[in-house]
């Protein structure tokens, strides 16, 4: 039973994203196809696309539990209205722990550079015989700030009333036309303790990574990097109590893929 539960969690993100892609690119009714074809092929509109990217998909041989970490993002829709799916988490290859945050959101382009997003989020964590799940509503922004910074602030309100704030900022620095260094900062703030998740109130954690990828094709870019994680305050205390470190630095190797 426990095993099934773990498998389900493991598959949650890929299944969610795959379902989205099938839903968006599934066969159109024959009548619609016929109309499109004979309208002269031009619909001459901003159109519809489905995009999937692994911003992070990496293995950290020196990290605690030797984790595979991921940050996947998908959207489907037009230039203005999009359905977004996000999965951010990690799976330990030693010791069997995992954690993940899964989001499904509706997003609307509210300025040339910013999507406003609202939807649902599920967080899961498991390890050393315990597991926990929390649900809630999530709202946020995603876009490009002046300076070409990719910025993604969001607010998560759980069903039992906790509020947490997350911020991700990244920047692409072109060393050459194909070699791109990406500093990336993720931080989380919680208004309450979430003991089951090992989160204390206040600024709970930051993760700062510098990854350098080589774009063999634009869509296919292996990378290596260094990531520094830090936990703060009561979050750090919870970590120490469970025998983990308050912070770690790890080397990572991964693949940035999109289609």
């Amino acid at each position: 039973m426990m095993q099934l539960d773990r498998i389900a969690r493991f598959l949650a993100a890929p299944v969610l994203i795959a379902a989205m892609m099938v839903a968006s690119s599934g066969p159109l009714p024959a009548q619609v196809v016929d109309t499109l074809r004979h309208a002269g092929a031009h619909d001459m509109s901003w159109g519809r696309e489905t995009f999937l990217i692994s911003e992070v998909l990496e293995y950290a041989p020196s990290g605690a539990g030797r984790p595979v970490n991921y940050d996947l993002l998908a959207w489907s829709g037009g230039a203005v209205n999009r359905l977004w799916a996000k999965a951010d988490g990690g799976i330990a290859t030693l010791g069997g722990g995992m954690h993940g945050e899964y989001q499904l959101q509706y997003g609307r382009l509210v300025s040339p550079w910013w999507d406003a997003q609202i939807g649902v989020r599920v967080d899961q964590t498991s390890g050393s015989g315990t597991s926990a799940t929390r649900f809630g509503a999530v709202a946020g922004l995603q876009g490009l700030a002046p300076g070409w910074f990719e910025v993604e602030p969001s607010m998560f309100v759980t069903t039992d009333g906790n509020v947490s704030l997350d911020l991700t900022v990244s920047y692409d620095l072109y060393l050459t036309q194909r070699l791109v260094m990406q500093p990336r900062l993720e931080s989380a703030v919680s208004l309450r303790d979430e003991v089951e998740f090992g989160i204390g109130r206040g600024l709970s954690s930051t993760s700062f990574g510098v990854r350098t990828r080589i774009e063999i094709r634009r869509e296919f870019a292996p990378y290596i990097g260094v990531v520094w994680d830090r936990r703060y305050g009561r979050t750090a205390e919870f970590a120490r109590q469970s025998g983990a470190a308050a912070g770690e630095a790890r080397l990572v190797a991964g693949l940035r893929l999109w289609r």
Binding site: R37, H38, A39, G40, A41, H42, D43, M44, S45, W46, G47, E49, F51, A79, V80, L109, V110, S111, P112, W113, L144, P146, G147, W148, L173, Y174, L175, T176, Q177, R178, R218, W258
Partner: protein
């Protein structure tokens, strides 16, 4: 310039090509012959034979065909089996009957670019007709009452990127204008081995997917050592602050494109023959889907005699930019029997097309080296126009300013050069007329319109009302017809400017417009949301014109890209300061932050297309229907807009 013998590899291939054409093709390892061409595109135009009853007929078959392009096998959409399609030739006054058979598994169409004809023969699916369905043959029939260099292409989907284009040449009823001894047709184009639908999808997801000329960290260090730290930093901060990329010159680049001249890449060049001392007319057409070309023949001046198929007063130049869908006729006189290169560099310098003018196919000229990719400037954001103008002039020693001094736009007073970089509109410039707020178009009373054939004033841009599909608006916009364009005019060479063009004959009827329609060209590169006034075609209502009314069509480019805008069915007279000698054109390339106006007499009833000729911009909605209809009785249409 020195002659170079081609390597034996190419010479042999050329020999094989010749052998194949005369029927010995069975010896070839592949059934595909390099660069098979329509004979008249290959050898130049011979005399045009007369036709019975003044009706000239062509049969065209649209098919998916394996052809040889840039050294590789490619599946193209061909017209009678070749890329480009055949040269269609007519004499002015003839009647064209062209049967187009569609053997594709999808709809197709042919639009006769620049030909004035009835609306149902214009070939735009959804506006002119329903398109040509698979297996169907459509008969186009129309009278040809004009002469010059034109072209034709598919108006269905992205077929134009797949090779569905060709040249259309109309001999004048009576030869007038500058004399020439020989004529060649030169069709420039771009080809990608990727599916164009895939190309569009990629740039919608990652807009700079094909830009391999970005500024890198090393460029930054170089700029620091050249310009100093603070200048290099403030330049980066300015561009990044606007979320604009100064290297964003073309969406689709040489990273995927093979640039073709008459269907051939530069490695295996098309060769046009000539005799020393002959005056050779080159009819140059840009049939690309995404590339502007800068054309020159190193060592030889060119005399421009036609633009958009229409005769202009001859202008001598060393280089000219040919935007998508434009045609230029130039006359060159080659003094000796050496080979000369026709060199067409892509605007973003990511590649080039080249062909040869040579006494024989094996003799080629050395090709010039590619220039470094240009960067967009403050002027492309509608800032610092005044300083830009000054820069141009100083950078162009030897330009004949005097002859065209009347065309140089007078910059409105009050542009504070010191304020460059700060988004403050010039205070003393012309009063802002909010002619586009919230509307696709709107009317201005005739009394306020300036004289026909004059240049628009510099105008500060009002608030951005173009919605989320538009990234930014320029601080102010003005005529840039006297500027050569990004990346040109900086190396001492003479470059053609639109302000130098004058119609060969002044127009007898050069009425003043009765209203002005102002359209803003908009887009957000990050979202690939190209549009007009922020509204893509699928959400837009038509631009309504009353039959025979005379309008001023003003276009304002709010984006940082060049947009070659094409109006179907009616001529546009480009108001470049020459009054009733304004040149008549079918396509106008609107530069970033440019304000340009054209006069249009709505003399053709029907539903016409008006769009950007960057194929991918059109495909995402930078397109409008222009509907010309008779005024309803008792109603003066838009004339009573006072």
């Amino acid at each position: 310039m020195s002659d170079l013998r081609l390597s034996s590899r190419v010479s042999r291939r050329r020999f094989v090509t010749t052998a194949a054409v005369i029927g010995a093709g069975s010896a070839l390892p592949s059934p595909l012959r390099a660069g098979q061409l329509d004979p008249e595109l290959d050898a130049g135009l011979g005399p045009l034979s007369p036709v019975p009853n003044n009706v000239r007929e062509y049969d065209l078959t649209i098919a998916e065909t394996m052809v040889r392009l840039d050294g590789r096998n490619a599946k193209a959409v061909t017209i009678n089996g070749t890329v480009p399609g055949p040269v269609l030739r007519f004499r002015e006054g003839e009647r064209a009957v062209i049967r187009v058979k569609n053997t594709l598994s999808e709809d197709t169409s042919i639009h006769w670019h620049g030909i004035i004809l009835p609306t149902d023969m214009d070939g735009v699916p959804g506006l002119s007709f329903a398109g040509i369905r698979p297996g169907e043959t459509f008969e186009y029939t129309f009278a040809i009452n004009q002469a010059g260099t034109y072209w034709y292409h598919s108006h269905s989907g992205l077929q134009e990127q797949l090779g569905h284009y060709g040249s259309l040449i109309v001999e004048p009823a009576q030869r007038i204008g500058p004399a020439y001894d020989r004529e060649h047709v030169i069709v420039l184009s771009d080809w990608t081995f990727e599916s164009p639908y895939r190309v569009l999808s990629r740039i919608k997801k990652q807009p700079d997917a094909y830009n391999f000329q970005r500024r890198t960290v090393f460029d930054f260090f170089r700029d620091v050592s050249r310009d100093g730290f603070s200048a290099a930093v403030s330049d980066r901060v300015m561009w990044a602050g606007m979320r604009m990329n100064p290297t964003d010159i073309a969406d689709v680049t040489g990273a995927t494109y093979s640039f073709l001249l008459n269907g051939r890449a530069a490695e295996e060049p098309w060769t046009g023959q000539f005799m020393p001392g002959e005056r050779v007319l080159l009819r140059i057409i840009n049939a690309g889907a995404g590339s502007h070309f800068d054309v020159r023949i190193p060592g030889v001046p060119m005399t421009v005699v036609q633009v958009s198929g229409q005769p202009v007063e001859p202008v001598e130049t060393d280089e000219f930019r040919i935007a998508l869908a434009e045609t230029y006729d130039v006359i060159v006189q080659l003094p000796d029997d050496r080979a000369y290169a026709v060199y067409a560099e892509a605007m973003d310098r990511s590649g080039f097309a080249a062909g040869m003018l040579s006494r024989s196919a094996g003799v080629v000229a050395a090709l010039p080296s590619r220039r470094r990719r240009p960067l967009l400037t403050m002027a492309d954001m509608g800032m610092d126009h005044g300083a830009m103008e000054g820069m141009d002039h100083s950078a162009m020693p030897g330009m004949d300013h005097g002859a065209h001094a009347d065309t140089v736009a007078v910059t409105s007073a009050g542009v504070d050069h010191a304020a460059m970089g700060h988004a403050m509109p010039p205070k003393a410039a012309a009063p802002a007329t909010d002619v586009h707020a919230g509307h696709d178009m709107s009317a201005m009373p005739a009394s306020t319109l300036r004289a026909p054939g004059t240049l628009p004033d510099e105008t500060p841009h009002g608030p951005d009302t173009h919605g989320v599909g538009n990234a930014m608006v320029p601080m102010s916009t003005k005529s840039r017809l006297d500027e050569p364009g990004v990346g040109l005019g900086e190396d001492g060479r003479r470059v053609l400017r639109c302000s130098e063009l004058r119609s060969a004959e002044p127009w007898a009827d050069f009425r003043a417009p009765t209203r002005e329609i102002e359209l803003h060209l908009t887009g957000n590169m990050e979202r690939y949301t190209w549009a007009i006034d922020g509204i893509p075609y699928d959400q837009a209502s038509p631009i309504e014109l009353t039959y025979n009314e005379r309008i001023r069509l003003t276009m304002v480019n709010d984006t940082m890209m060049n947009h070659p805008m094409h109006l179907h069915g009616m001529w546009m007279e480009l108001e470049n300061g020459h009054g009733n000698s304004s040149p008549r054109i079918h396509t106008i390339n609107v530069k970033p932050a440019e304000r340009v106006s054209l006069l249009v007499t709505a003399d053709a009833i029907g539903r016409w297309a008006f769009h950007c000729h960057v194929l991918y911009h059109m495909e995402v909605g930078m397109f409008r229907e222009v509907r010309v209809s008779k005024a309803a009785s008792g109603h003066e249409g838009h004339h009573d807009a006072a």
